[in-house]
C-alpha cells in the first residue's frame, strides 16, 4: 500500500530587535550568563512588562510579506505553567487574537534540497498556507552540571515570532523547501537573521501518515525543537517510515510528543508528563490591547523590501537572465544587489551573472555573508572578455584570484602577463610564420577544406602561449590565405 504524509510546522523565529520584548535589556548572544537581565525579565515582584514596539512592527511586517491578514486588535495572554527557566512561571504569548492570520509561503525549485530539485514535487510551485503568526517571549536556558543545574536568563524575554503552517506539507523535502523559502523571506525583510546555530530559528513538526486515497487522517505525532532545516528533513523521513512501518504491521500510532536524536538518527518519545498541561490562558492584565491600524502597520509597510519572487521576475526580465540564474541570484538579497551594481557598468549582463553564479559562488566562503570585493571588478572582467582582451578560460581563473587576492582584474592581468596579444603588427608576423610553417594545411585550405585553418591557428596559439586573440588571428589568417589566391 502507498502512504502519504500530512505535515504541519510551527516555527519559532527570534526577531532582530536591539532589546527584549518587554524590557530594555540588550539581546546579545554569548554574553556572560545572567549579565543581560533586569527586574522585568527576571520576573521580580512588582516588575511590569512594557511592549517593544519594534517587535510588534517586525511581526506585522512578516505578516504583510507573507500575505497574512493583520488583526486590527492584538492581545497578549498569559500561558501558565511551571518551569525553572521561566521567570514568572507564565509566558506572555498570544492566544486567541494573534497579530496575523492566514498567509502563505510559495515553494520554488531551488528551495528544495539539491538532490530533490529535479523531482516533480520541486517543480509544482505549491503554496503552503499559514494558520497564524503570533508574538511571544522566549524563556531562559537550563544547564545541567552533574548534581545541580544552572539557569541563564539572558535569553529570557527575547522576542519570538511563532509561525504556524496549515498541514499542507506532504513530504520531508517540502518541509525543507518551506523552511528554506520562509527563511529567505525573513532574511529579505531583515526581520531575523535566522541563524539556526544560535537558535534563532527553531521548529516543531506535526506529522501523520495515511494510505493514499484515504480521507481520514492518521494519528499525529509532534517532534519538538528541531534546530536545523536538514534535521527537520531527516527527522521527518525517519518518523514517516516509523509510522508506516507500524501501520503495515497492523499496529496503531499513539499520539505522542517526540524528540529527535540527530546522532542516533531516531525519534524518541518525551516524558509525556512534561507536556500534559492545561495552560489556563487568560488576557494579560498588565498589557493593553495593541491597535495595529495606523502607525504600526505603516511602519511595517515601510520596511517591506522587494520580495524574492518579485526580484526573480524582475532580474530575469530586466537583465535577460534565465529563471535558474535569476533564482540563484535572488536567493540572497546581497548577492542580487551585488549583481545589479556589477551589471550596471557592464555591456554583457548575462556574462556578469554567469561569473557570479558559476565561478564566484564556487569559491565564495560559506561563512562570509558579504562579498569581499567591489562589484566593479565583475563589470571590468566581463568587459575585458567582451572586448576580446581575455578569453573565457582565463577570466574564470581571474575570478578566483580576485576573491583570494582582492585585486582588480586589470591589475591581475598586468601582474600575470595574461593580456591577450591584440597588436596587429605582432600577430601579422606570427601568422605569416605560421603559413610558411604549415604548407600542407595551406594546400588543404586552398583546395576547399576550410577547417584546415584551425591547424594553422593552433600553431599561432601555441607560439603565443595562448595569449593571442583567437578572433583576430582567425581574421588575419583568412585574409592572408585569400591573398595567396
Amino acid at each position: 500500500m502507498e502512504y502519504e504524509a500530512i505535515i504541519g510546522l510551527e516555527v519559532h523565529v527570534q526577531l532582530k530587535t536591539q532589546t527584549k520584548l518587554f524590557c530594555g535589556c540588550p539581546i546579545e548572544y554569548g554574553a556572560l550568563p545572567n549579565s543581560r537581565v533586569c527586574p522585568i525579565c527576571l520576573g521580580l515582584p512588582g516588575a511590569l512588562p512594557s511592549p517593544n514596539k519594534q517587535a510588534i512592527i517586525l511581526t506585522i511586517q512578516t505578516g504583510l510579506m507573507l500575505g497574512s491578514e493583520i488583526a486590527p486588535r492584538g492581545k497578549f495572554d498569559r500561558k501558565n505553567y511551571f518551569y525553572p527557566d521561566m521567570p514568572k512561571n507564565y509566558q506572555i504569548s498570544q492566544y486567541d487574537q494573534p497579530l496575523c492570520k492566514g498567509g502563505a509561503v510559495q515553494l520554488y525549485p531551488l528551495a528544495f534540497p539539491k538532490d530533490a530539485q529535479k523531482d516533480p514535487q520541486a517543480q509544482s510551485r505549491k503554496k503552503i498556507r499559514l494558520v497564524r503568526i503570533h508574538l511571544e517571549e522566549d524563556v531562559g536556558k537550563s544547564f545541567h552540571f552533574g548534581d545541580y543545574s544552572g539557569i541563564d536568563f539572558n535569553r529570557a524575554g527575547t522576542p519570538l515570532m511563532e509561525i504556524v503552517s496549515e498541514a499542507d506539507i506532504r513530504s520531508p523535502e517540502e518541509a525543507f523547501a518551506y523552511l528554506t523559502a520562509l527563511r529567505q523571506i525573513l532574511r529579505y525583510g531583515n526581520v531575523s537573521d535566522c541563524d539556526m546555530e544560535k537558535g534563532q530559528l527553531r521548529c516543531d513538526v506535526n506529522v501523520s501518515v495515511k494510505p493514499i486515497g484515504e480521507e481520514k487522517w492518521g494519528t499525529k505525532c509532534e517532534i519538538k525543537n528541531l534546530n536545523s532545516i536538514s534535521a527537520v528533513r531527516k527527522a521527518l523521513k525517519y518518523e514517516i517510515q516509523r509510522q508506516i512501518h507500524i501501520l503495515e504491521l497492523g499496529g496503531e500510532i499513539s499520539q505522542e510528543t517526540l524528540r529527535w536524536d540527530d546522532l542516533k538518527g531516531q525519534t524518541f518519545p518525551m516524558r509525556t508528563k512534561e507536556y500534559a498541561h492545561d495552560y489556563r490562558y487568560f488576557p494579560d492584565p498588565d498589557l493593553l490591547t495593541i491597535l495595529t491600524e495606523g502607525e504600526l502597520i505603516e511602519e511595517a509597510q515601510k520596511r517591506i523590501p522587494e520580495l524574492p519572487e518579485e526580484k526573480k521576475q524582475r532580474l530575469s526580465q530586466h537583465y535577460g537572465l534565465t529563471e535558474y540564474q535569476a533564482s540563484v541570484l535572488a536567493s540572497d538579497p546581497q548577492l542580487a544587489d551585488f549583481f545589479e551594481k556589477a551589471a550596471a557598468q557592464s555591456a554583457n549582463k548575462v556574462s556578469v551573472a554567469n561569473f557570479l553564479i558559476n565561478d564566484y559562488l564556487a569559491v565564495a566562503s560559506e561563512s562570509e555573508t558579504a562579498i569581499p570585493i567591489p562589484p566593479e571588478y565583475f563589470s571590468e572582467l566581463s568587459n575585458l572578455v567582451d572586448q576580446g582582451k581575455l578569453h573565457m578560460k582565463q577570466a574564470k581563473e581571474i575570478v578566483k584570484l580576485m576573491v583570494t587576492e582582492k585585486k582588480s582584474p586589470t591589475l591581475i592581468v598586468q601582474e600575470k602577463g595574461l593580456a591577450q596579444i591584440t597588436s596587429l603588427d605582432t600577430l601579422d608576423a606570427i601568422c605569416k610564420e605560421a603559413i610558411e610553417a604549415n604548407p600542407k594545411s595551406v594546400a588543404d585550405y586552398r583546395s576547399g577544406k576550410t577547417a584546415a585553418i584551425n591547424a594553422i591557428k593552433g600553431y599561432v596559439m601555441k607560439k603565443t602561449k595562448g595569449q593571442a586573440n583567437p578572433k583576430i588571428v582567425h581574421e588575419l589568417l583568412e585574409k592572408k590565405l585569400h591573398e595567396l589566391g
Binding site: P39, L42, G43, L44, P45, G46, A47, L48, P49, S50, P51, R78, N80, F82, P84, P87, K88, N89, Y90, I151, D278, R280, F282, P285, D286, L287, L288
Partner: protein
C-alpha cells in the same frame, strides 16, 4: 501640641520657614514610634539610620521636602525588604525602586519604614500576616482593617504622618475607615503600578493614607502621572489637587446615594453616621438624590473570580528558584515547588490561588472568568449612567466598624463581605475616598466613602476637604488601649 500630631501641610509651613529641621522632625517621629509601636505593631521594618541620613541632606523646598512617610510592605524600595508580609519572601531584598518611590524621593520625602499588611494584600484585617498582628489604635483588641492595616494604624496612631497603601478591593479605604484616617483609591491608571507587587493587576492601585484630605491631595499630586514602565498607566494630565480643594461649589451639585449600599446587615450606628454626613452635605447646599447601581449584588462574586484568577498567575513566580524562601526537604522539582509554596504561603493566599486556578481551568473559564468580565462591564456601566446625573456618590466605606481580632478569621465569606462597599469602585476603575464621619458608642471610627467618576479625584477630594473644614476636623489621638 506634640510634633507627631501635625499634618503634612502644617509641617511643610514649619520646614520651609526653617522653624523645624527635617532631622528634628524625623527624630520626633521615631520617638513616637518607639512609644507606640510595641502596642500597635504597624511596621514590618524600620530604617532609622537611613531616614536620619536622608533628613540631614534633604531639600525642604521640594513638594514633600523633609516629610517622613511609611510604605506598605508590597511596594519595592531599593535595598530594603519587600516581604508582602509573607514567609515566602523572607530574606528578600529588593534591587529596585517602584516608580512611586522614585517620585517620593524626588519630591524630598523621607522613607521611614515598611508597614504590615495582609499577606500579598489578601485580606481585610491584617490578620493574614506572617509578621504578626497589627492592632487597631482605637481598641487594641480589634483589627485595623486591611490589607493596608499597618499603614492605616500607623497614620491613625501618629506613628506616621502619611503612608502609601495599595487598594485592590478596598485595601486602603476600609482600613482608613476602621482606624479613623483618610484613605484614597485613585482612578485605575492614575498612579504607576511599577514596583507594586501585584495581587490583581487589573484592580490594584497605590494610594495615600493620611490624617486629612488636604494631605491626601498633596501626596496624590506627587505620586500620580503616566509611567512608560506601566503599560496600564494613562497619559492623563495630573491636576494640582491640593490647589483645587477650595474651588468646589456645592451649588448645582448633585450627590447620589445608591440604595443598594444601604442593605440589611449594615450596622445601625454606621447607617446613622452616614445619614448624618449626607444631611450635612445637604445643609451645605448639595442636592441629594437616591440612585441605583443594580449590579451591586454581583460585585463581590465578580471580584473574587477576577482577582483570584489574576493572583493565581501573579503569585506563580514565587517558586524558590530565583529568590525568596525555599524548602530544604524535597525529592524532585515538582516536590520542590510544592513544598516551597506550601511552607511559604499562608492559608488565605493558598485559598485564593486555588480559586483562581480553578476559575481559569479549561472547562470552567467561560462559566466563571469570562462571565465575570462581562459582569464587570455591567458594573462599570452602572456607574457611568449614575454619573450622568450626579457628580459623586456617598456611601458607607464598610458595613460595620472594626471587628475583634479572630472574630471573622475562620469565616472567609464573612471576611469577604467587609469589602462589599469598596469592591465595585475597583471593578469600575473609578476613584473613591474614605474619610472619618463619626464614632460608634464604643468609640470606634466610622468611614464615609465618597465615590467619584474616573479622573475626577479633584471632586471627591474637594468634597472630603469641605466636609472636614465645615465640621472642624482635627486628627484625634486614639487611646491606644484595650476597651
Amino acid at each position: 501640641m506634640n510634633l507627631f500630631e501635625y499634618t503634612i501641610s502644617e509641617l511643610r509651613r514649619l520646614l520651609v520657614r526653617k522653624e523645624l529641621s527635617p532631622t528634628e522632625l524625623t527624630e520626633a517621629l521615631f520617638s513616637r514610634i518607639a512609644e507606640v509601636e510595641p502596642k500597635i505593631n504597624a511596621y514590618n521594618y524600620i530604617n532609622h539610620e537611613r531616614a536620619i541620613e536622608r533628613a540631614k541632606t534633604v531639600n525642604v523646598d521640594l513638594p514633600l521636602g523633609g516629610i517622613p512617610i511609611a510604605i506598605k510592605d508590597n511596594i519595592n524600595v531599593r535595598a530594603e525588604p519587600c516581604r508582602c508580609a509573607s514567609k515566602i519572601l523572607e530574606g528578600y531584598l529588593s534591587p529596585y525602586n517602584a516608580t512611586v518611590i522614585e517620585k517620593l524621593i524626588k519630591a524630598g520625602a523621607i522613607l521611614v519604614g515598611r508597614t504590615n499588611m495582609d499577606e500579598f494584600a489578601m485580606g481585610s484585617s491584617t490578620e493574614n500576616s506572617a509578621t504578626g498582628l497589627t492592632k487597631n489604635p482605637w481598641d487594641l483588641q480589634r483589627v485595623p482593617g486591611g490589607s493596608s492595616g499597618g499603614s492605616a494604624a500607623a497614620v491613625a496612631s501618629h506613628e506616621a504622618f502619611c503612608a502609601l497603601g495599595s487598594d485592590t478591593g478596598g485595601s486602603i479605604r476600609q482600613p482608613a475607615s476602621f482606624c479613623g484616617c483618610v484613605g484614597l483609591k485613585p482612578t485605575y491608571g492614575r498612579v504607576s503600578r511599577y514596583g507594586l507587587t501585584a495581587f490583581a493587576s487589573s484592580l490594584d492601585q497605590i494610594g495615600p493614607l493620611t490624617k486629612t484630605v488636604e494631605d491626601a491631595a498633596l501626596l496624590l499630586e506627587v505620586i500620580s502621572g503616566f509611567d512608560p514602565n506601566d503599560n496600564t498607566s494613562e497619559k492623563m494630565p495630573v491636576p494640582r489637587f491640593s490647589e483645587l480643594l477650595e474651588t468646589l461649589s456645592l451649588k448645582n451639585m448633585v450627590l447620589g446615594v445608591p440604595k443598594e449600599y444601604f442593605i440589611e446587615g449594615i450596622d445601625g450606628e454606621v447607617r446613622e453616621a452616614i445619614n448624618k454626613a449626607i444631611a450635612h452635605f445637604e445643609s451645605l447646599g448639595a442636592k441629594i438624590e437616591e440612585v441605583s447601581l443594580p449590579h451591586t449584588p454581583y460585585a463581590v462574586a465578580t471580584y473574587y473570580i477576577l482577582a483570584t484568577a489574576e493572583a493565581s498567575a501573579n503569585l506563580a513566580r514565587f517558586d524558590g528558584i530565583r529568590y525568596g524562601r525555599r524548602s530544604k526537604h524535597y525529592e524532585d522539582l515538582l516536590d520542590y515547588y510544592g513544598k516551597t509554596r506550601d511552607e511559604g504561603f499562608g492559608s488565605e493566599v493558598k485559598r485564593r490561588i486555588l480559586l483562581g486556578t480553578y476559575v481559569l481551568s479549561s472547562g470552567y473559564y467561560d462559566a466563571y472568568y469570562l462571565r465575570a468580565l462581562k459582569v464587570k462591564e455591567k458594573i462599570k456601566q452602572d456607574f457611568s449612567s449614575v454619573f450622568k446625573k450626579c457628580q459623586a456618590l456617598l456611601t458607607p466605606t464598610s458595613p460595620f466598624c472594626a471587628f475583634r481580632i479572630g472574630e471573622k478569621s475562620n469565616d472567609p465569606l464573612q471576611m469577604y463581605l467587609a469589602d462589599i462597599f469598596t469592591i465595585a469602585v475597583n471593578l469600575a476603575g473609578i476613584c473613591g475616598l474614605s474619610i472619618p464621619c463619626g464614632q460608634s458608642t464604643e468609640g470606634l471610627p466610622i468611614g464615609l466613602q465618597i465615590i467619584g467618576p474616573a479622573w475626577k479625584e479633584e471632586v471627591i477630594l474637594a468634597l472630603g476637604h469641605l466636609y472636614q473644614k465645615s465640621t472642624g476636623w482635627k486628627p484625634p489621638i486614639p487611646p491606644l488601649e484595650k476597651t
